[in-house]
Amino acid sequence: MISIFQNYGGALLYGLGQTLLCSIIALIFALIIGSGFAILEVVPNKFLRIIAKIYIEVFRNIPLLVITMFFYVVIPMYIVEISGFVSGTIGLILYSSAFIAETVRSGIQSVDPGQMEGARANGLSFWQGMRYIVLPQAFRYVIPPLGNQFINLVKNSSVLAFVAGFDLMYQGNVIASDSLQSMSTYLCVGVLYLILTLPLSYYMRYLEKKLA
């Protein structure tokens, strides 16, 4: 294991950086899109609710790999040349945004409906009530589940290995076939993933206990 770190440390660290970069980009966009669809799911307009519902159910029930491969294979074939990293990140954004939307929606619905009614009674519009009254309270509830979604996102970013995204998993495969020591290489890769996910996971458990 140590020899793997010594010989291929640079490649592994590069992969770790790519994994982190992809996860953070995907998290930011998925949060924006996910929160948007979560709000659409609770607006009074039935048409918008149905659109949000369809988006969420479609992307929750199709494997991440199918979404990612679609962007890796079809988009460059017909529309525009994109790298594996970009297509992987787009796939991750779409997939995670559906899960984040569900999380945020349950957060919004856990806020007492009286809050919105009070806001409306005070003359705020629906969107103002959402923005200033409901969402700040909802986000407090959803921080631990959102943290878990981020952990899932980091783990799911390993799908970049399928599309030559040069992430940690991809580097792991390259090193495994180069060094012929698959077992210790994958152990190293596992340790690096754990460095990213395990502290976050324990912190989220602590936060859950503290907020409960």
Binding site: L65, M77, S182, L194, T197
Partner: protein
């Protein structure tokens, strides 16, 4: 247009269905294994056996925080280094079972913790042993609470079987890739077919989970219940 429709010829559909069969086979095998091991590990983690529970808990945390692809690679390419060489189907079943039983174990533990301690105290004070109380009082209630969570975990298991294409498991994803690899005109139809097939399986499972949620009365805060309540109030 005709070339696109040719993607859905009987030969291709049958080939896809063969892949779907492997996907279902692998999913069902790993669901059964991960349910059995998950419940056992979850109980071990809960009951605080000296050293054993702590070790099991730590291992569960580690597996839960690793990507499934890594575990699949590890079983398929790593294990032969120590003299155990499974074929793709067994490798993916083993990898899925390891990963998902850690997930299920965590759900089981959370389900047991959610039962009020009064239940255990009451059972003990009526003369049951610790294990009897766990078996007859706590577990039946806990399992009722956690069934929706377990079903949604199994939905992600079905989706995750697609990751095993990387070790050339002849599943749905792999067969679709073979078809559009032979004729690039079939790419979009194949992705459509993939999406539809996975969607049907996963969405019907998620409907099952919602139904169980209602049936078992655990849907205290779920959206549908609140909507019914609100429309009744109007």
């Amino acid at each position: 247009m005709l070339t696109v429709l040719g993607a859905y010829s009987w030969i291709n559909i049958r080939f896809l269905l063969e892949g779907a069969w492997v996907t279902i086979l692998v999913s069902v095998c790993s669901i059964i294994l991960s349910y059995i091991f998950g419940v056992i590990l979850g109980i071990i983690r809960y009951v605080q056996i000296k050293y054993l529970s702590a070790i099991v808990g730590f291992v569960i945390d580690i597996i839960r925080n690793l990507p499934l692809i890594l575990i699949i690679f590890f079983t398929y390419f790593g294990l032969p280094n120590i003299g155990f060489k499974p074929d793709p189907i067994w490798a993916s079943v083993i990898a899925m079972a390891i990963f998902e039983s850690a997930m299920v174990a965590e759900i089981v533990r959370a389900g047991i913790v959610s039962i009020p301690t009064g239940q255990m105290e009451g059972a003990r004070s009526t003369g049951m042993s610790y294990w009897q109380a766990l078996r007859y009082i706590i577990l039946p209630q806990a399992i009722k609470n956690m069934i929706p969570a377990i079903v949604s975990q199994f939905i992600s298991l079905v989706k995750d079987t697609s990751l095993a294409t990387i070790i050339v498991l002849p599943d749905l994803m792999n067969h679709a890739q073979i078809i559009y690899g032979q004729n690039t005109n079939y790419t979009i139809p194949m992705f459509l077919a993939l999406a539809v097939m996975y969607f049907i399986v996963c969405y019907s499972l998620s409907l099952l989970s919602q139904y169980l949620d209602h049936r078992l009365g655990t849907a205290k805060k779920s959206g549908e219940v609140e909507e019914v309540v609100q429309s009744a109030e109007r």
